[in-house]
Structures are given as C-alpha cells and as structure tokens.
Amino acid sequence: MIFIDTANHISALAAKMAKPHVIAAYPITPQTTIVERLAEYVESGQLNADFIRVESEHSAMAACIGASAMGARTFTATASHGLLLMHEMLHWAGLARLPVVMVNVNRAIGPGWNIWSDLNDSLSQRDTGWIQFYASSNQEVFDNIIQAYKIGESEEVMLPVMISYDGFTLSHTSMPVEVPEQSKIDEFLPPFKPAWKIDVENPITHGNIVPPEPYMEIRYSMQRAMERAKKIIEEVGEEWGKKFGREYDLIQEYKCDDADYVMVTMGAISAEARFAVDELRKRGEKVGLVNLRTFRPFPYEKLKYEKMIVIDRNVSPGLGGVVYHEMKKTGKDLYGFIAGLGGVDVSYKDFERIYELAKRGKEGWYPLEVK
C-alpha cells in the first residue's frame, strides 16, 4: 500500500509494525511528531506496547536498556540535544550488546539554538558501538527501521541500531512510501530471541566490575560483531529486496561505472546530489554518486573510486569533515567539502559548483572558503 506521509509519521508506523514491547521516548524538535503518533497508537490500542513517558532522554535510553535486558523489543526516538544527553547510555547499550532500535532526527547542536539539520549530533556518537544508518528518503526510513531490528537482533551482531535522517527536509516532508502488509513484515521479522536476558532462574550479574583482560575481550568481541554486521546488513538488504523489491547494500551507487569523479554524500542531501549528477551528465561530465547508507560499520572497502568528492554536513573542529577523514583509509584521491551546517541549503546547483571546484583541485568550507 502507498502512504503519503512525513518521515516522522512513517517512522512511527514502521516502529509499530515491528511490534516493540516497550517504547520510551521524550519529545524534542524535530522528532516530536514520532512520539505523539506512537502515544496515539498505544492509547488507541493499535499497538500493544508499554509506552514509558520518561522525564528525559537519558532515562529513555536507560529504560530501553532495562527492557531490552529483559528480552523485550524496544524502540525510542530523539534528536540533537536529546541524543547528546543519552551519550553515556548509548555506550551502555552498545557494551551490554542490547539491540535497541532508535530513530535520530538530525538537528544542529546549540548554542545558538538551531532546529535545522546537520549530522553533528549522530556523528558525535561514532564510538558508542551503535550501528548507524542514514536515510535520504522516507521510503528508506521505513525500510531501514524494519531491517534495523533484524540486523541488530541477529545473533552474529547483537548491537543497537540508530537510523538517522535530516530534520524537516525529511522529518516534516510528505513523500510517497510503499508500506508492505503487516503479515509480510511479520514473515520478514520474527519475534526477538535474545542471546542473553535477565532471568530469575539463572541469577547472573550483568555489567559488574570487570578486570582489564576480559574488558578488552568484550571490546574485541564488539569490534568483531561490527565487522560481521557488514555481511548481515548485506544479507538482510538482499532479502528485503527479494521480498519487497528494493534491495539494499551498505552504500547506494548511482552512475558510478564510468565515472571519473564520484561524489560521496550521506543523508537527505544525497537526493540533491543525485539530481546534480543527472544535470552534469547532460553536459557530458563523467560523474557519479555514492550515498553512504551506513556510517557504522564504515563501508570503506566499497569506496573504490579513484577520485572522490566528499561532502560533509558536519565538522569535527580541528580536523575537518568527519566522513572525509574516515575515508582516508581508502587511500584514494579525496576532495573534502564542508557544507550545509545548521540547515544551510545545499541545492543541486551547489553540488554542480562543488564538482567544478573539485575538478580544479580545490576543497574546503563551501561557500565560506571556496565558492
């Protein structure tokens, strides 16, 4: 069935169809309409879940951790400052290997208060052990949320999963989304069978003091799980494709085969970049696009193009664009641009301009340093 709705309402719908037992969430712009819709689903009996109306995001994540440790399927959603407040508990969920699923609606960080999009909130959570997906359309938002449960709950993975998408550009923009029947979703996503859970018949202590050597083993096992997640993400994306007609990988490539230059983007701006590729191709430019679907695990093996133009909607002050620096591991020629912070519009015209600049060997803050 085709739904025409905002990414936030699509998120709530996807969460509902994944049938979580426990939802704990706190409102923040531009995520709020997710929480409102979920509360409505629960109160009207359309969703049989316990909705914990927590007093903060820190508590939202703590509650998801408590519920997930009991073997319950959980969901939460947040944005920006809410995500930052959760930071400690994000590490906790990751190290406890609990497959909590969360939507983060990307929003710039204050001060000054800014409710528009950039990716600094979720990229600041880089090392928390969460799998990170980015969506560039409302359809991807839906598809990623359902797949997130299957990936995170896989015995080979057992990691929490965050699905991020741009505030307003997606969160409050209606687009058509193909939504499968509930029975088809149920076939795809069986009930959660946790690898471990708290059980009074087996009184074990979870998360107590751990000496250095086993601590390092725990960290190592997390790293291995992230590596295995690459395979699971591909498999689940392929299965999704077979069932629902839209196949997914860690990256999405567009007109890359004969490209001399490939632009690399993440999030909603990928849609503009795609349009720019079409425009540039009309003028005979051999350019392609890679949209990064996952940031963790980072798909560097798949970024095999000789000249890549990386457009970061984020910045690590003192270093530069986060994705650009992560991509140095590829050993390819990279041209790094920082653009669109705090919701500055990045249109297809800007991508065309960035492409021209990169061809001339330039890089930097667009348009503050190079334009």
């Binding site: 704990a24 508590s59 703590a62 408590g66 440790a69 400690e88 202590t205 107590n208 000496p211």
Partner: protein, 310 residues
C-alpha cells in the same frame, strides 16, 4: 513467631534462605550486606536487582562471578530508576508479573545525581521498589559529601565539616503520592524485614530508605555498625516510620519517643564517630537545635495522625 500477615517479631523468625553469599567484597562491618541480606530474605528469589554505581556495585563481586543469588542489572550512576522502569515494563509486557524489580542504590545515586530519574519513575507510578541505603556520603569514590551528609560531618570534600544541612529525600518522595514509603535501619532487622515484605505485596511505586552506618566513612570501629544504627534511632538522628497511602505512622523506638520516652542526647551518637570529632560548641548547639526543630515537626505530625477526629 510469625504473625498471620507473615510479619515476624524476632530475628530468629527470619527465613533461612540466603541470597547474599560468601565471597562478596564488602568491608568488614559493612551495613549494606546486613541490609541486603535481610531485604532479600523478605523479597525472595523472584527479585531482580537494578544497581547503579555505588559500593554495592563493588560488593556484588568481580566478573564473571556473582555474590548475590538473584539476577542483577548494573546501570549507570544516575539511571537506576529509569533502568528499572524498563525492567518493570518488560515484566508487564512479557507476562512475568510475579517478579519484583528492586532498585538498590546509595544516597548519592538517589538524593543527588539520580533524583531526576527517581522522581520521574515515582511520578509515573512505576511498579517497583526503590531502596535507598543511606550511608550519608559517597563511599564508593572515597567518602565525599552528598545531599544526605549531615551538617558538620567531615568528608573528603568537606574537610572542616559540611556547612549545609542534609535534605530529606523521603519527604520529597512523599510529595509524589506513592502508596508506600518507609524508613528503616539495620539495627531492627524485624522492622526492616516486615517493611520489605509489606512493600512487596503492594502495587505501584514503593520507596524504602535504610540508614546504613559505614565504619570507614563515619570513622568508627567495624564492630559497632549495629550499635551505631540503634543509637541513631534512640537519639532521634534517624527516625522510623511508614507512610501507607499518605497516612504516616511512626514505629519502633521513634514512636516511643513521640509517646514520651526519652530521646537520648545526640552527642552520644556523634562522639562515637570520627567524622564529627572536630565539632565546635556552636556547631554542636546548631545540630541539637535543628534536631529539636525536626522532632517538633514529627510531634505535630504524630498528634495529627493520632488525633481522635481522624
């Protein structure tokens, strides 16, 4: 003797089941293990403990072992009430309604950094028991002041004695209209046991605060933990009561004080503790004055609760 309500009247009536096992890492004379041993005898096997950073998180034993015979979910310092909310929700949704989620947190994790999560959980009517064992400081990190540290007490962040008065968390909890609140201390194991047992039978949020005299923190000999606990009650430095559905009832020695029995001079309690060694005359006078004031309040509450037109 065990009464018809399952209440016990003497220590010999405590169930023989042990949930605090040998090999835990508490200091000798630690009040936490005494309290937990009694509490778990009342709560039984179908209990899940949620424990934040505190001494108990150390006592419970080093990975991969455990010293308690019930499952434990450790959680971040300020997050125990929220973590337990998740556990309680999952128990409800997964149809495991005979299991009691119990937070076991220190005063730091309850009065200070965890107060927001605690207040939120109580306001939501979370179906759990929250236990704050109050040793009146942060002992895990080496004896720093907390919101529960009394006026005048030495800690490693109040070298010349704390300049402020402690707050009353149980009274803050009362403002949340929860069905059951109780205070207790380890010198009266029957009282602690009965309160735990009663709490277990009630639905909704239940709060129990246990005074826990800590030998290294309060600077007294490790053989004197129970005495210190008893004297706190006899001098009125600690008070025993229950609040059931908003109705307050004092118990034990505290009730007897209100009925006219002597409240021992608080110096007797203070002088046994190295943390008050430096107290000046005027500081001691201030402590006594604050305590008298508090007991006047208790007296008023007591009279209103016991007045015939109630």
């Amino acid at each position: 003797m065990v009464s018809f309500r399952g209440e016990i009247v003497a220590i010999k009536d405590l169930p023989l089941d042990e949930y605090v096992l040998k090999g835990h890492a508490a200091c000798p004379g630690c009040p936490i293990t005494i309290a937990l041993r009694i509490a778990l005898k009342a709560l039984g096997k179908k209990t899940i403990l949620v424990i934040p950073a505190c001494c108990t998180a150390v006592i419970e034993a080093l990975y991969p072992k455990t010293a308690f015979n019930v499952p434990i979910l450790n959680i971040a310092f300020e997050a125990s009430a929220a973590g337990a909310s998740g556990v309680a929700s999952a128990l409800k949704m997964l149809q495991q309604k005979d299991i009691t989620p119990v937070v076991w947190a220190g005063d730091g994790g309850s009065y200070d950094i965890g107060l927001q999560a605690l207040s939120g959980a109580l306001e939501r009517g979370t179906n759990f028991i929250y236990v704050c064992y109050n040793n009146q400081m942060y002992s895990n990190t080496g004896i720093q002041r907390s919101g529960a540290t009394p006026y005048g007490a030495w800690t490693t962040t109040t070298w010349t004695g704390k300049k402020e008065r402690q707050k009353e968390l149980a009274e803050i909890v009362m403002a949340h209209h929860i069905p059951y609140i109780a205070t207790a201390t380890i010198a009266y194991p029957e009282d602690l046991f009965n309160k735990m047992k009663k709490a277990k039978e009630i639905k909704g949020s239940r709060y129990i605060e246990i005074l826990a005299p800590c030998p290294p923190g309060w600077r007294f000999d490790m053989s004197k933990t129970v005495e210190m606990s008893k004297l706190a009650v006899e001098t009125g430095a600690w008070v025993l009561y229950e609040v059931v559905n908003g109705k307050m009832e004092f118990n034990g020695y505290s009730k007897r004080i209100l009925e006219g029995k002597e409240r021992k001079p608080v110096e007797e309690w203070l002088k046994m503790q190295g943390r008050f060694r430096h107290l000046k005359e005027e500081e001691l006078a201030k402590i006594k004055e604050m305590l008298d004031e508090k007991w006047k309040e208790y007296k008023k509450l007591y009279s209103s609760e016991t007045s015939p037109d109630k």
